[in-house]
Amino acid sequence: MARVGVDVGGTNTDLVLEADHGVFVHKVASTPHDQSEGVLKGLRELCDIAGVSPADVSLIVHGTTVATNITIEHNGAEVGMLTTRNFRDILHIGRHKRPYNFSLHFEVPWQKRPLVKRRNRVAVSERILPPDGKVEIPLNETEVLEATRLFKRRGIKSVVVGFLFSFLNDAHERRAAEIVRAEMPDAYICTSSEVANVIREYERFSTAAMNGFVGPKTSLYLENLQQKLIDNGFRANLRVIQSNGGIATVETCSQKAVGILMSGPAGGVIGGRAEGLLCGRSNLITVDIGGTSADISTIPDGRIKIMNARDSYVSGHPILVPMIDLVSIGAGGGSIAYIDSAGGFHVGPRSAGAEPGPACYGKGGEEPTVTDAQVVLGRLDADKMLGGDLPLDPDLAYKAVERKVAKPLGLSPVEAALGIIKVINSNMALAIRSNSVARGIDPREFALVPFGGAGPLHGVALAEAISAKDIIVPVAPGITAAMGLLQTDMQYEHARSLIVSLRHADQAALERINAVIDELVGQCRRDLEKDGVPAGRQKFQRLAECRYHGQGFELRAQLPEARLTASNVADVVANFHQQHRLDYGYHFDDGEVELITVRVIGSEDVAPLKVARIDKAEGSDISGAFLYSRATTFDDGQSVETPRYDRNRLRAGQRVAGPAILIQHNSTTLLPPGYTAAVAEFGNLHVYRGA
């Protein structure tokens, strides 16, 4: 039996297959017009490589950018929406804040590219009142029917229902959806309380609208992929990684497509975490550096953090779905360096992308990129990129750096290239700091895990800039994200807002909370059962999203496994204070803590990827891995004759002293003078200052 992880990126589709006889990796070109083509091609080829029959693959975990791309290209479904009378424009007004402070010619994404056009947002009579969800105006079912007729006339096949205060009482939303379903049985239908049962009307409606927008195409893609797999002899269960890092079935992801919008970068964070854990480390900062962007995530104590709901935006729309907390910045191998008209020097966020790509690709790019700078500094060998599959032209890199940066600044090309690297590293380091130091995390206790093809070239410099303790370079940095797909759990989340002051919570209030917890656990249990997870392997995490009374943002506190009682409420409050301290640096002992939303996460442990131990070294002699030596310039400006080693021929327990460059098919690791790379038992590199 075998399991496969398939991660689709903008340029490449990465695959990892784990069988009893070993772990195999593969990379094919992505097929953006239909990702499933590349996926299938990669799967078939990888099965051949591994000598595994498609029928023997039991599980395929898929990381996909399908849903994300729909939002970027804005080519989702034409969506119809039923909403509360007098509140037709919640989606048009949003939070009424402009994307820029100083601009006249800005775009307003939610008005310029609405998820639901105003003509398809129909207000119907109904009203539910706070604070208890009492019905003031019953749902006018005739108006709902009229709206469905309009939708049908316009050929709409996706309908969302979003009513005010539905987090208090979802009866109207459910009834309206029922009527629509009866009239439009083939339509894709969802309600705002199904998708995100929480307070804040704009964010909840936006999440539902996004689900209606990406849902039909996403489910079509997933179902189509599933069918193609069957047609090609695969009988595996197809699973998809969600934005929160958990995996779910095709059926779930089709119904709640909004949950896989950040599927793409999730695998990387999990893969990076797994590499750290392999080395016995749990305080980790993962840095996934690609061509155009770098994704950065902080993992304290082995726990992947979930982004504050206030920050979870996709293509300018707020999405109230748990996502792994990561920052993405426009810094990668393709980032362009340039001088502006007033003499300012910049690197990125503009990128040369895959076309034309860096100047050294010889595809017509004339602007110098970070990759070109690495070539000029002798850190990327022109004949070794992707094992020689992608030959580079050093002359073009040199000329681009010289003409566009060195000459205007009066520097030598090497100095200019060092400057490019310095600025891009500084940009990334600042982003790491904003995701760590600014959140109360001390990087000196953390290991930096750099991956993505370009990651290990920057790892040591970034670790120095943020004062990280050391660096762990993954086994296969170019494919870490795909490996992450086989390292995570089956996971379902359900949430519900109910607003209770924990200080004043009486027995009745506690019972209400307990009832909600029970209900949410029940929902998670049903989801897991549907996936065939036996009761014994089901795990439930209970969370209280709280804030101090008057605050606008919630933080997560742990709820006890047992029932909430007058005595253990204090533990929840204490846990919240602690979380607040961690995130903001202080807490209010006498602050009134208010519970806003209860969340339950149901999961099943999936057996982690079994990365094979590599052979132990017979001795410390690494000459067997030596390739050749070339002059290489390091960040201090010194150019040294630097040996290259074939990383695949290094053995566990061996040490390489810097300066050195370690080359493997999908990545290059830069080891500056004064640093040592120790080969760990699974082949990861533990890089640290000193000998």
Binding site: D340, G344, Q551, G552
Partner: protein, 730 residues
């Protein structure tokens, strides 16, 4: 002489400074308690050198950005003990010592590095209530002392020790004392964090390197802005508007006059001629607000963050090329002890008029008239416990049509950029409920090739007896259209009780401390933006889209755009549209011919002017039907003397017009082509269907700049229009 820092190190330090400012802002709004700070982000934070130059500032609300140097200068005048010690922390909000306005309390921490004072870490945030005459907001008050607690150079912490007497005093002098203190705590945490980071940065790179780098970064920002200013032809560019009233003297309109003087790479905003200061709080603190508004206008226009590929560092350099002039004793530079708390709308109007003034020379960069106002509401009441509750709400405006896009609808305008408060959150926490929140459908925004933005309608009901103060503007001066675009719409305010919805009370834009009863609903309608360019040039498909989306009625589509829409079939009637548009164009071209254009020998304009075709195509008087004639409102304005029009100042002529016809007239400056520097001004008197079209050409200058010539021509043609209109009427 500062050493030169290499561009690479400079960029690295620049990134570090911006990150510190963002971190300060982040901590402040995440930790704060009142919705005006945490949701609306009505705050600013940054680092400053010992000369009070802004080194970096957070991206928060534009009005706070650029105000802190004024606070620091004011603190210098008033600092307790006269000197700074490590561990000191000052709170400051005195509007006559540099504050933006009194509710914006600054928290300032001196930054010491190796024992030397090297700069300041500071932030400002808008506080819900500082114990003013009425809860939350104030308008009709006699002087600055009715604004509440005033702090000037006051040390809340001395050498690290909190002044408990002061803290306890603060805790007893606000209707929302707990929020005030908790929000101050958030500000303190943010300022201290900034100070720590600033010192760390100096540890890392060396103090002198950082100080030299900050100087270079300011020079860099200044250089970029000066390059952009230099591309504008030299000259004086003027525009005018007026404000409803001061919140007390309901019949006195308040003129605003803006003159933009461009000379070389510098720009002056001169507000001379604007209203004298008023007797309520509707004045604008000069350093903390008037200047900041002008900085904001120029930065948004010339360093547009959305269209520039370079992110220019946010520092003092962006203020240096801009000088601001407002005579002492005017509404934009009041004299102590005039109150000056309600100042936002006046600021936004200055920005809007700066764009109008620059229209002749920056036709592809400016936008048509926006709502350019502010609706800032304070709702307050007493809880059963006897405590006050106070809720501040900023309502959104709308933008004018733009050269390449419609004006955005229902969005914070110009210098405002806050977040609205979730209506579900409001209703769960306060005795209030929102009854309506959507786009206005009672009026149409200014028609144009790009239409104006649509304003909001927001109805808030109080569930107990309450007080409402509404700082708001623009019930009379209509947002302007340009280059053939039509004017937008003014705002309105209504109050009714939920039990008697037909018994509607029409309110002035601004009022203070109004007592309302449980069940009363306060309804705000925002102004709608003016149009940009000829509506007949708007593609018919776009008009159809607007009709389908309900942004435009079927009637308005034909009357304003000449587009005939079959609403049932959801289609444009192409033939009927073509015919109607031809008829409308023919109607327009029967107007008097243009005066001959004269070539002007002036500096080549920086940017391409609108296509000449726009000159000859415009609709006649179609908007007349939808815009009922407003009764004359100028009773307070002295009657225009019947003397020679020619010798009277233009503004007087316009006053006369206003007196005679209310707002049922409009002027548009129409054309400034690149090669033929002609100005055409079209006047329309809608009372009797008169349309006058007059133009004048900018002649060859005798030493006058192109801008001056254009201005003269505009004045000349405007004068002719006024004369003709007045004459026709007689």
């Amino acid at each position: 002489m500062a050493a030169t820092i290499d561009p690479i190190t400079l960029q690295v330090i620049n990134g570090a400074l911006q990150t510190i400012a963002e971190e300060m802002g982040h901590v402040l709004y995440r930790m704060s308690f009142s919705s005006i700070i945490r949701e609306s982000q009505d705050l600013g934070a940054g680092l400053f050198d010992t000369d009070f130059n802004t080194l970096c500032e957070s991206e928060s609300t534009p009005l706070h950005i650029g105000s802190l140097p004024g606070y620091l200068a004011g603190i210098k005048e008033t600092l307790q003990d006269g000197e700074w010690h490590d561990g000191d922390l000052v709170i400051h909000n005195h509007p006559y010592h540099g504050s933006s306005h009194s509710p914006d309390i600054a928290v300032v921490v001196p930054v010491f590095h190796e024992g030397a004072l090297v700069g300041f870490s500071a932030n400002t945030a808008h506080h819900v209530d500082i114990g003013a005459a009425t809860p939350g907001l104030i308008i009709d008050i006699p002087d600055v002392f009715a604004e509440g607690m005033l702090f000037a150079g006051t040390k809340l912490y001395e050498r690290g020790k909190r002044n408990e007497a002061l803290w306890s005093y603060i805790g007893r002098n606000s209707r929302a004392a707990r929020q005030l203190q908790d929000d101050l705590d958030a500000q303190i945490a943010s300022a201290r964090l900034g100070a720590r980071r600033f010192a760390e940065l100096m540890d890392r790179y060396g103090r002198q390197v950082i100080l030299d780098a900050t100087k270079q970064l300011m020079d860099y920002t200044e250089r970029v802005l000066r390059q952009r200013i230099a591309a504008i032809p030299d000259g004086e560019y003027r525009a005018e508007g007026f404000l409803d009233d001061d919140g007390k003297n309901r019949d006195v309109r308040l003129p605003i006059k803006v003159c933009v003087r461009v000379k070389g790479d510098g720009i002056e905003i001169d507000l001379t001629g604007s209203s004298k200061q008023v007797e309520t709080a509707f004045n604008v603190p000069f350093d903390g607000s008037t200047k900041v508004a002008c900085f904001c206008a120029i930065r948004s226009l010339l360093l547009d963050a959305a269209t520039s590929d370079v992110k220019v560092p946010s520092n003092q350099g962006s203020f240096r090329p801009v000088t601001v002039t407002a005579p002492k004793g005017s509404i934009y530079n009041p004299i102590y002890p005039a109150a000056a708390e309600a100042r936002f709308a006046q600021c936004n109007r200055v920005i809007d008029l700066i764009y109008k003034a620059l229209a002749p020379v920056l036709p592809n960069d400016i936008i048509a008239g926006s709502s350019a106002s502010l609706s800032f509401c304070s709702y307050a009441g007493i809880r059963p416990s006897g405590d006050y509750w106070v809720f501040l709400e900023v309502n959104e405006g709308s933008y004018g049509g733009r050269p390449r896009a419609d004006g955005p609808d229902c969005i914070d305008n110009l210098m405002a950029n806050t977040r609205n408060n979730p209506i579900e959150d409001l209703a769960m926490h306060l005795p209030m409920i929102c009854d309506r929140y959507e786009l206005r459908d009672d009026v149409m925004p200014g028609a144009g090739r790009s239409r104006g933005g649509i304003g909001v309608v927001k109805a808030q009901r109080v569930l107990t007896d309450a007080f409402i103060t509404h700082e708001n503007e623009r019930h009379f001066d209509v947002p302007w259209g340009i280059f053939g675009g039509k004017p937008g719409q003014v705002g309105k305010v209504e109050i009714y009780n939920v039990g008697r919805p037909s018994d509607v009370k029409h309110m002035p834009a601004k009022f203070s401390g109004l007592r309302v009863a449980a069940g009363d609903v306060h309804v705000f309608y925002a102004p709608c933006g003016g149009g940009f360019g000829d509506p007949l040039e708007r593609p018919a498909t776009q008009v159809l889209d607007d009709v389908l989306d309900g942004f435009c009625t079927v009637d308005h589509a034909s009357a304003a755009y000449g587009v005939v829409v079959d609403a049932t079939a959801e289609k444009v009637d192409e033939t009927a549209t073509q015919a109607l548009r031809e008829r409308m164009r023919a109607g327009a071209s029967s107007a008097p011919p243009l005066s001959p254009h004269v070539e002007v020998a002036a500096a080549a304009p920086a940017r391409r002017a609108p296509e000449p075709s726009r000159l000859t195509s415009r609709s006649g008087l179609s908007p007349l039907r939808e815009r009922p004639l407003r009764p004359a409102t100028g009773a307070d304005i002295p009657a225009a003397p019947a003397a020679e029009h020619r010798d009277r100042p233009l503004t007087e002529l316009i006053r006369g017009l206003r007196e005679a016809y209310g707002e049922a007239w409009s002027f548009e400056v129409l054309e400034h082509s690149t090669t033929k520097d002609a100005v055409e001004v079209i006047g329309q008197l809608r009372a009797n269907g008169t349309s006058v079209r007059e133009s004048a050409a900018a002649g060859r200058g005798n030493g006058a700049s192109r801008g001056e010539l254009l201005q003269r021509a505009a004045d000349e043609s405007l004068r002719k229009c006024v004369e003709t209109l007045m004459h026709d009427q007689r």
